[in-house]
Amino acid sequence: MWQTNLKVLAVVLGTVAVFTIVSSSIPQLQSVVPEDLSFSGDVTAEELVAAGQALFEGAGGCADCHGLGTRAPNLLTDEAGTGQIGVRCARRVTGQDCKAYLFNSLVDPNALQVEGYIPIMADMSRTLSSEQLWALVAFLQSQGGEVTVTGADIESEGGVESAGAAQPAAVTAAGPTSTSSDPVEIMTANACLGCHVMDGTGAPIGPSFDGIGGRVSADYIRQSILDPRAGASEGYEAFIQLMPATFGEQLSAAQLEAVVQFLADRR
């Protein structure tokens, strides 16, 4: 019997050994862990930029989309003739300087959706610490602009509160850039076509506007604009979170009605 036991043991050990050897003889890849950053109050711009660059290209995963010519606005060289991000950041949104704009687009990217792109970027404060966020801002500023991030930003504004606080401000700032009563203009100003398709333009993130009036009532449209979380159209449940809930504050009553009527008439 001991012989049988030995044989069984040999078979088991042998099989396990073969698997281990085979697994060890193929390419060995390990996952990358982003470095934790901690800066003192007197951190230099260079340090921040260097850390931001490492994040941008490495574990931050930014370069996957924002690298040279990919799924998102090009930040490093030029975007449609507007220059590097450091150059154009201050001009992007009125009322937000470069630093604020960059930080806000990191923590609430969908509110600052650049037209022509699909809102796929996640809130980076979910994955990055405030040190890391500010380092990224510094790096982006350094792309053609002046680095104004300091240790004070990280200490005073930094962290979760700042991200939370920045959000509404960002949204407001991005808000009623148009006082027009033309529904198309209103929709353009509010980047509705960033997620909805209308007449072949726009991105199919949310329900199409084509023929929307035939599918739902005006009330439903109004309700969906004012309180998008109330319910999603079939097939778009996954994206319900992407629809900003702030249009009720941004649009005047007349504007809202104009849009609702316009859409309801699109049968």
Binding site: D64, G67, L68, G69, T70, R71, T77, D78, A80, G81
Partner: protein
Amino acid sequence: MGKHLRHPLGQSVTVLVAAYLLIKFGIVYLPPLIGIASAPLPSSVVLQYMITVIVGLLLWVSDNEERWAKFKQPMHRVMVDPEQKVARAVLLLATPLLVAFVTFDRVRPSVAAPVSFRSIHPAPPGQIDFQGRTLRLTGLENPLRSRGSEDEHLEEGKRIYYQNCVACHGDGLAGLGHYSQGFNPVPLSFQDVGTIAQLTESVVFWRIAKGGPGLPNEGGPWNSAMPAWEDFLSEDDIWAVIMFLYEQAGHSPRTWGEEPGEEGGH
């Protein structure tokens, strides 16, 4: 001979040798006979195939009692037969020596370069920034195919290819230009059915325009010697050279509706 071939041991050895010849040489030399390109296999793959074949043979000889007994008999005889003393001694010595040598070969410090795993066709981005403009690659067709004279475009493409690409990709489009030996990875062969024949023209455009530096990380951009041709060539130049590539290599590009790169992974 015939006797040996009827014996499971002889049959196994024959199959093993035949399989080895087929894998080592057959795969290399047979497909070209019917006009399919082939190349020598890396030793890792040969080993993998041979192990599979050996396992298969072991299963075959042992899945039937009679065959198994017959198979073992010669080996058993070597072990016990007084007349096989010499063979036994030789085996007893040679096997450990072989094992020792293999062990030595494995444990001695090796100075092999790290093997690089590089995806030749990483997934293309949806759009690129070409000379300051945004080009959407998805659905992008070669505009020259529907404009002007094809012969002229090909002529122009040929000029561009010969003045810029020949040094690496070679006159034969097989990646064997006179500078090819200087680079690792070697320049791509367009003759290979796995390269441009698999791609849409827009992907080729992306690769030409952005070159090595524009590769995503899985493409090993630090190793690629492919220049970013947008610095040298105009958009029409690139489209023309793409037309020439397909024409000269005798491939036709993939058409849209196919998503290239979907078959990566394993």
